[in-house]
Symmetry: none
Subunit: 249 residues, 2 copies
Amino acid sequence: MNFQRVKNVRLYETIIQQVMGMIDKGELKPGDKFPSERQLIEQLGVSRSILREAFRVLESRGIVESRPGGGRYLRKISGSSFMNFTSMDLERDALLDVIEAREIIETRVVRLAARRATEEDIEKLVDLDREFHGTGTSLQEYREKDRDMAFHLALAEASHNFVLKEVVAYLLTISKDLREKTILDFDDWLELCRQHSDIVKAISDRKEDEAAEKMKVHLMELRRYILKGKKDNLEKRGENVCESKNTLF
Amino acid sequence: MNFQRVKNVRLYETIIQQVMGMIDKGELKPGDKFPSERQLIEQLGVSRSILREAFRVLESRGIVESRPGGGRYLRKISGSSFMNFTSMDLERDALLDVIEAREIIETRVVRLAARRATEEDIEKLVDLDREFHGTGTSLQEYREKDRDMAFHLALAEASHNFVLKEVVAYLLTISKDLREKTILDFDDWLELCRQHSDIVKAISDRKEDEAAEKMKVHLMELRRYILKGKKDNLEKRGENVCESKNTLF
DNA sequence: TTTAGCTTACTTGGTCATCCAGTTATACTT
DNA sequence: AAGTATAACTGGATGACCAAGTAAGCTAAA
């Protein structure tokens, strides 16, 4: 006799779902302006607080931008605007912002690490890297245990700058949140993990240019895989159903 | 002459940072129960709506579980976001870490801004800069209203990367916290503000190399002044209880 | 002793009215 | 026709309010 806990649905969650659904149906296009709060609470039949809770979440995911006094806007998708986009594409696009930030910061972090890493730092990096190559650890396990995150965090630690460490930690949590929705291919993931060794080696050799270069290709690959997922998604989706009528809510 | 406040940073974000910081510091362990809303709004000094917005985001990220009538609980140790240093007594050396991070990040932010800034972005930057040169605005006023912070935040905004914007906001709040411990000379500070114009000009001319260079010297100067102030401060200490109101980065 | 039912205090969920500050568009002045 | 007040927006934030769920403690009946 296995009873399940009754799911308690919050109003703000249903609003998020509704917005996402509208994006998928093409009723909302990138760059579009949302109706004002006062209009929306009327159309959705919720209070202003609840509406704002929903938009806070959307905002923290980079899907919506709030301009005080100026309204709320759906994320403008970068590059060529696709006729065909889903809420997933939007999240992926937001993920590219994170990758861009990581390219900027982590390439420099790794330079600092090459200069400042202590023997213990390097030892830890080697250990973390070995955990991947090691016999006992399955990829599944590696992935579940956030080994990738631990590795990049250890790099940041080796930079011996507490601010950078905090920033990297933030970027990692964000990219983890978003990455869970963008499933990477098995082989891609394998390749990415392999590149960690190059970075560790460059750092232990104190070659900062090389370390920066390796980190750069590492993150460029990550970006490439993410974009590939986007393309796959487009191909999979048969005929386009994009007759985006502008019926906002 | 209408003044604009620096309010670009949202209250709910700072709460998230603070909670994440507590997780990092081990003050909150998985399974722990949070204080009730009414207690927290008192401790944090915010309204209930803001608190709930923060927890909604935490909830949507799977970090916190809200049980109606039963309280809020920490779910997993995903942790590692920005720490909150407001009440922390940081060594002055920590300030150099902040500057180092800003050099790394803001020089690149400014490059992106030079590439991506819209006409409105540039207009806003020009306005913010003009407020310093303008006749009507006294230096005192400029200081009190955190114009410097607003300027750097506007730069981050012009990079059109929402992650970088948040990172810069974080760096600026740390700088703000720390600046109370550092006395900047009047002329030094004047010079720093003047350099803002160079940055704006480079961006509006779309010369990203120049923009990066100007930002670099800007932050190098800041570091130099801080080190000087450190020496001054060390000499002065003992009688003076730091009338450090007149400091601004 | 056990157990069902009730009370009570405390929790989160949700609404509302109100104010603030910044944006935008209108209309009036020069 | 350009410039400038002004009025009507926008989101940001607050505090009071009610509803509903939870949990603990008490009581009374089995």
